[in-house]
Symmetry: D2
Subunit: 483 residues, 4 copies
């Protein structure tokens, strides 16, 4: 198995989810949809179907394309399926922590997969264990399952509402029972979830690119705080929370979503190109070539080139064939200027004044290496530009991004950053510039249109678990072996 | 992995258990002990230790000797360990159904392994699921775990007593917490459990042969209805049930226990030899050679030979190198007279009047094949003798033995059996003869000394689940993949 | 293991090679070098070192980064190493066909890896088998080994020269004995091989990008018909062939080499950009956006955009997470317009007149699918441009490209191609334009500077095996299992 | 995979072979036949068939029953098959050293498997390598293949004769071409090979038990120095060697052959029983019980009991579930008196004067442990009896038995042995007694009827390789990875 290394210095989100109801090849569509969402998580993947009687399930470490080939119709039969791609936010990878998870509850089977993090999961978990619940994984998702299992309400949907009303945080979830496909988005819509239609079947997915790959039509996004229930009768919407303004995570625009996805009616690729325009306007530099840090920096670099008139050049080549266990260049005494993933293209860089465009700077390590690599390849000047504002606050809703003490921009002044990165100049897109690129003329500071706390410190929800000590994180929580 | 096929036609029991407390090499001893108990279950094995902080655990399909080699002290550190060998009573083998199982309960971790079957497990399970419990396996053992988790009692031992008082059936269990090793035997002592001592450490095991292999001294058997609690302070006995007469399973003498084990002070080998003496007296025949069905029929055949004066000969050779996936002789059009496990030794059989001695006859299939094989090898006469009485009733306490409708002696008259088996004569040990061989002059019919219901129909406990429909047995009960 | 699918419709070459002599971490450098050459072959990889006594070796199916991690210094110790990445040209992947291959010959061990194909391999092989040679693989490389083993010459280098003088075809090989690292290039230099220096150690590699990743300095290319012998004494050059003009494969410029490599002093990236310039001049079209078929079409598309002034846009997104066993979209009834690898970026394409730029068109299948995909995403017009001339002849020197009867441009007129591809216009770079982009003002038609037979039919060497029947290709040639 | 440990202290032979010609289910029969021969080698197994065009082949580490299940007719189709079980005589197990081995020679394919060792293999191998042969394994068998490949004779059978005339040693081989199944036995018939008939198909096998399992009729043994050639026309006998007296290995009677096999018309079981009779007569002792070391000592112990009138008892229980990687009892500080394989049956041993009967004593280690184990179980006296004479010379024909300096009886006087083993008395069967038990009234000292050099020092053939240094044994001899 090849495990794709995430870029060390990028925010990671915890998942892509997919659901489909009403097609005899549900698992095939789920596999294709998850494949299109692979950029949201490459560590593990799983699909659960309902075949009219049982809930066949397969969960694997690794890529969708490594495992879900061949005879899927036989392995995972059924008219309905849910699936999940995972990025682990913590600890070592474990098979038992792969979603979807399933329980045979008193009213029948219930499978669920979710993207996001609950901010009060530990609190709820402790309470549940005190009440005799036995956990088999360390996933937040299992908390939801136990809340549903223990709800005193007689009807399943009431139990699910009951459960969701107890949890805090950002999530998009897909659930499957013998009769229903359910989609739910947290009250402020932090994590994305869209609805599509494929013939008479309904589809749920984290991004529109998963609809495109199967040829499904985009219907609309699930709204913040909305639950949609898809049955043989059609689709129904349930609103279990008091109305609130939506506040989707701004990182979907910056980094998470695939460039060909449409979020809130906006092309991610175009938004990123406009970030480049904006960045060129805000932080110009005299240079010979605009070089993206591939792949995620490409659209903004193209935008920067368009706006500045400075030519665009592929000065850095990305090697996609990287396995997780590979030797480290440092093992042979070479450090910054070589990389398993990025190679300098000397012909583009040598003797040039280079503007390097990246989507964001998190811990700064990768940026340092890339700057040094570009310099060693002969660049005369290196001007680094981030197509997003400085990241100065951690996230607690499912983005795995390092603690505040590791955030480069949080612990350095601008001058220190310039010195550490060894760049000739450094520029970040402004928060207003980011909003403008997205298409919002101004940020509503009283009620920001997006969850932008990493840039601004405005957390959209209370953080229950956050005050707790993290030290017992490693405690064994399951009956199952780790191996 | 080689999975040892159990003899198709033998009763199977569900397990061997082992526990040790107070030795820094607990897992090494557990591995050796389980190896000595391998005859009680070859499908899967597991060991859980307590290392002062966590409960390291390994569970595997296959034999102890295939998995528990090498650096056990590193893999499974700790001063205390419990372990388990399993024979699956139903369904296909699944990793999630391997014991010990573990839960992190509100008062700390609790690992448990058990041998036996609960007769009210399904009833309890349904109730627990109705109350919101989420099961991760289909094992009875998990019911006990949930009962402990949900007990309202504040102290762990009280919770465990509370749980055990709710279950019915035959069991021997070993449990491990951060402070205690616990052994418990059901109220009538159906399943065996012995106590040993190795230096200052205490040991629990299904049979004495597991004490012998590690050089531990036999102390005594755990009594029926007794719980023993081993801590740093020593051993303590708890009696949570009203006193009852003990009624251990008579099949330990007939087939389950290893010949070198001592059960209730009696050598299994000697008991079986005496069964042979008794059998020779009850069902004599004029013959040239006494041939055992190896390996389990050997001691009784030796006894038969001693008592009858007819020479003993290894007329059937057993091939121990059998893998589960191997081709079937039937694939090439040959049927009864060849076998992957048994080969006729023509030199012993040809032209001879043969008395074949087996320990028991369950469904009759293997007996038929062996008789035919012996005839094809040239035996002039074949007289089949079973060193136990006719099996006419199924077991519900953890022995997997076929339904009543499949029990050869339950559905045929003596004449039909002789005809079907194509033997010249057929003889079974009588129930009084069996008791006598064990060392009990007479069976106490009001209160039989052993659970002998398979021979007599006297079930020692009520059978709660038994009235229920078996049809939902295959229902998926867990959040976990089957693979 | 994830096996990377090569683009179905691209020429494939058979390998990357690497060698290093004189560094205690030879295997670590070999692994990094092969990683940089991974684009030349992703099916299998191998490294052999010499540790002063033995030739430790590891060969694996899959990527370098999947297998060569961890403790390489222990697994593959030694001051010298050779390595190989493979693309299989035929048949299913087999472990026994992975290079380097090794033989213990009368004078000592000899390991060899090579890139290329021998055009008289079958002839030689038949002769060798007639003379009693036993082959263990189906690789051409083994022919060389047998020729060396059987040479009557007493000294190793004379034997190797003897062997090379008998073979025909295009190759670059690296060889390792207990005392020497050898590099050799065929008489016309079809396959590439460069020399580098890392401190006092010498390095051989298919491309300069493998020198860059380890920080080695480029020294020069091995010349056509040259053998270089590297020992503790330094480097020596041997010329065993009569002088000939060099004729390297032109596909290195078009497709094979990585954009950051330097071939014959020319930046591959710049050459491809100039192909784009030339293509824009030769086959202009009125359009709104230039869209590359990623990744290989990007430099030419950037060049086209620069020359034409039409904006560049990432209208197709490439998914790099593709596993070989993955389900096919056709399994669910959708055909051309979806793909596991390419997704349309509707925001760039919708309502636009699009010029699609690819590096080449081989069988046309992928092009058809991409054109349809682009149309379904809303493009108003699609103008397809190939940055290389029409491919009308097959290769026999190690490029796996389909038979003539499958070459799209060989079996269709221009009009047919336009109709089949359903494009609004179609343009190919001309042969003179290609030469110009590479930096040669004119093609020397009497003695072409490059092996361009796929475009022109001018094969640079005789094709011995080609007249033979291919039907016995599948004959089992080895003592080894296929599994 | 479970790898069965051979008894540390037993001679090991290198193989079982099987061949069948003329049945559409050849591979199924080969699998069953090899299963019956599993006692001759448990490390690896392989089957090669001929399907009319190719030679499908599978070779695996481990038991026949682990690998050759399921769809054998599809995996290994064909009317003819050969197969092999291996015990490695040296070095670590390697996949490339598993037989059958195959070569595509100038006249077509040839697969071969053999049991035995060539005494001039290294000499021949060095000569072949000097002449340019490339070896891929370290097996003697490959020498034969190269000799056939290089023979100047035009016809295959002449080449094979040519090859066999060059080799020295003891062997039984089976070979398969597109037209023939060949069996050959060395000039003195050291290694066994029998002919059977199954319908119209011919069968070759190391022992008759492999005929029995498939229901084939025994025809006769292949004679010493004979080659049999089986084709569609029937069976033909070729005698390529000058006539010599036969001298089969006496260890087939002592240890190798399965008790139900018939060798030279004699039942192995009966021969061993008579060894017990003879042993009782030669080395009587006053005792209470005769205890065999199971399983191989059982027949002789039964014979001893019959002859002496002392009762037979299973005082040692054998555990068959032993995996190779299992922990060693010594890891936990216990040494001689415990064992993974043998357990004392205290009820038989305690307070008794015990005569322990084993088939042979090689290095003495196991005997020491068993004696100590029996004593610790309470035996009052232990009298050890070996059913074969003292082993005082090593073997060089394929039995792996330790060097002379490790042979217990070769380096100790009788008194030393008694002291080291800590027995009350020690007895060995005499050489005349062994001959008598086999059925030969006297040993022909000028021309012994059996190869009994391990007991007598009379080696039946010259030992070419033996004078050579063993130090280069570990030299890498193959192009193939060890992994």
């Amino acid at each position: 198995m090849i495990l794709f290394d995430h870029d060390d210095d990028k925010p990671r989100e915890e998942c892509g989810v997919f659901g489909i109801y009403g097609n005899p090849e549900a698992s095939l569509y789920a596999a294709l949809g998850l494949h299109a969402l692979q950029h949201r998580g490459q560590e593990a993947c799983g699909i659960t179907t309902y075949d009219g009687k049982r809930f066949p399930s397969e969960r694997h470490m690794g890529l969708v394309g490594e495992h879900f080939g061949g005879d899927l119709r036989t392995r995972l039969p059924g008219y309905a399926a849910i699936g999940h791609n995972r990025y682990s936010t913590q600890g070592r990878p474990m098979l038992r922590n792969i979603q979807p998870i399933f329980a045979d509850l008193s009213f029948g089977g219930f499978a669920v997969a979710h993207n996001g993090n609950l901010t009060n999961a530990r609190e709820l978990r402790h309470q549940l264990v005190r009440d005799g619940a036995i956990f088999q994984s360390t996933m937040d998702t299992e908390v939801i399952l136990h809340l549903v299992a223990r709800s005193p309400k007689p009807r399943f949907m009431d139990r699910l509402v009951d459960a969701l009303q107890q949890i805090e945080g950002g999530y998009a979830l897909v659930g499957l029972t013998g009769k229903k496909l359910i989609g739910a988005r947290d009250p402020i819509g932090l994590r994305p979830l869209v609805i599509g239609k494929l013939g008479t079947a309904y589809v749920l997915a984290s991004e529109t690119c998963a609809l495109d790959i199967i040829g499904a039509q985009f219907v609309r996004e699930v709204e913040n705080g909305e639950m949609v229930v898809i049955t043989d009768e059609g689709i129904e919407s349930i609103r279990a929370f008091p109305p609130r303004a939506s506040s989707p995570c701004i990182f979907e625009y910056v980094y998470f979503a695939r460039p060909d996805s449409i979020v809130q009616g906006r092309s991610i690729y175009e938004v990123r190109r406009r970030m480049g325009h904006q960045l060129a306007a805000e932080t110009p530099a005299d240079a010979d070539v605009i070089v993206p840090v591939p792949d995620s920096g490409v659209p903004a670099a193209l935008g920067f080139s368009e706006a500045s008139g400075i030519p665009f050049g592929m000065g850095i080549i990305r090697n996609h064939y990287v396995g997780r266990t590979f030797i480290q260049p440092t093992q042979i005494g070479r450090q910054a200027a070589i990389s398993k993933k990025h190679s300098p293209n000397r012909a583009v860089l040598e003797g040039k004044r280079v503007i390097l465009v990246d989507d964001s700077i998190v811990r700064g390590n990768t940026s340092k290496k890339i700057v040094q690599m570009v310099r060693e390849a002969g660049a005369k000047e290196v001007h680094l530009r981030s197509a997003s504002p400085p990241i100065v606050n951690p996230d607690f809703y499912g983005i795995d991004m390092a603690a505040k003490s590791e955030l480069f921009a949080a612990i350095h002044t601008h001058e220190e950053m310039v010195a550490e990165l060894k760049v000739d100049s450094l520029g970040f897109l402004s928060v207003p510039g980011l909003y403008k690129a997205i298409g919002e003329p101004v940020r509503n500071n009283m009620q920001p249109q997006f969850a932008d706390h990493c840039f601004t410190g405005d957390y959209p929800t209370p953080l229950v678990d956050h005050q707790h000590d993290e030290s017992d994180k490693e405690r064994q929580l399951s009956l199952l072996d780790d191996t």
